[in-house]
């Protein structure tokens, strides 16, 4: 719209395509996927931050998401994302009092996956509510899972819908 964004806002996502060890059968105990989540938490955060070329402590918002191929369950995405992935993410960027926003789905090759984004220390910072779409043309195959982590160095470009701003963060409860 001709309005310059200065400095530019930058977002990066790192996506891993992994084999789903629980595909094509019903597995009650999903701890193997939880352990994979822990490993990917550090790996993908490090790669996304490196892609931005910033200090890890300069990350302002984050999000995570997973897409499960057709021989898996939505619960397999939950097992990768929720129990253990967050701790190494927070350790890498130094803080992260807020919930890491997430989404998950099942889909075929080339499915688009939206990673929701929110401020890492205060979930109500309105300028940082956002999302990033990722897609890989040949994934997920039916026995695979796409796992994605996104980080930013800023909120939306030209935010102007009011609400809590980042300079007002108290940082006590992860919300405000």
């Amino acid at each position: 719209m001709g309005q310059p964004v200065d400095p530019p806002t930058r977002r990066a996502a790192a996506v891993a395509v992994i084999e789903n060890p629980c595909a094509a059968k019903y597995v009650a105990d999903l701890s193997e996927l939880m352990t994979i989540g822990e490993e990917l938490g550090e790996l993908l955060t490090a790669r996304a931050v490196a892609a931005l070329g910033i200090d890890p402590t300069s990350v302002e918002s984050y999000g995570k998401a997973a897409a499960v191929g057709e021989d898996g369950e939505i619960e397999h995405a939950a097992a990768v994302l929720h129990p253990k992935l967050g701790t190494p993410v927070r350790k890498f960027i130094g803080k992260g009092a807020a919930l890491i926003p997430s989404s998950k789905k099942r889909g075929g090759l080339g499915v688009a996956l939206d990673i929701p984004l929110g401020h890492k220390d205060a979930a109500f910072v309105r300028s940082h509510f956002d999302g990033m779409e990722v897609r890989i043309s040949d994934a997920p195959r039916r026995n695979e899972i796409m796992v994605a982590i996104a980080v930013t160095d800023s909120g939306r470009p030209l935010p102007r819908v009011g609400g809590l701003t980042k300079d007002q963060i108290k940082g006590e409860d992860g919300l405000r």
Partner: protein
């Protein structure tokens, strides 16, 4: 102030009985309400857009009521929610951000004071663009069984000068939830988180 001009609406309800595991005695239902509106700010940079949030509040309320009706009419059956927006190509991502307040307001009104922040996402896209709307428990964001999402979209929207607005509600946990964490039965309900 610009008027809210609606071109079309869509309601969809998914009913999930199983994903290869035990068949649920009560199927999980996920419902989405979409409205395609004209973007009053398309095609130019407008600095002062925030007043449009108030204009959108009646639509937020109407869509929330429609969702509860689609799920059987009892607001008490709603356990998860989320919201999102897809902005057409002549608009900005910021125009999608206008939906945060009225979308959240509408659902809280109808659900009787849900405590958790409403999970959300947004994008700029063409007709047929799809959006994964994130979902969390309405009273405690950390309830792990209720982290979910629903893909929404319309084949002919958004046109360049339109915005697709979305609200989503669900009736329970993922159908085979078994990855631990905070349970809905353990909610303290004080801070919207736990």
């Amino acid at each position: 102030m610009p008027k809210v001009e609606i071109r079309k609406r869509l309601i969809s309800v998914e009913e999930i009985l199983h994903e290869g595991g035990p068949v649920a005695t009560v199927p999980l239902r996920r419902a989405a309400a979409l409205a395609v509106i004209k973007n009053p700010y398309a095609g130019e940079y407008v600095e002062d857009i925030a007043p449009f949030m108030d204009d959108l509040k009646p639509l937020g309320l109407e869509m929330a009521r429609t969702l509860v009706a689609a799920l059987g009419g009892d607001a008490k059956c709603v356990e998860g929610y989320g919201k999102g927006a897809i902005v057409g190509s002549a608009g900005e991502i910021e125009h999608g951000a206008l939906w945060h307040v009225p979308g959240g307001y509408g659902m809280r009104e109808v659900l009787g004071g849900a405590k958790a922040i409403v999970a959300s996402t947004k994008k700029v896209g063409g007709p047929g663009a799809r959006l994964d709307v994130p979902i969390t428990h309405i009273n405690a964001s950390y309830v792990r069984s209720h982290f979910d999402s629903m893909e929404v979209g319309m084949v002919d929207a958004p046109k360049a000068d339109e915005v697709v607005l979305a609200l989503v509600m669900t009736t329970g946990a993922r159908v085979h939830a078994r990855v631990g964490g905070l349970k809905a039965s353990e909610i303290k309900g004080e801070d919207g988180l736990r």
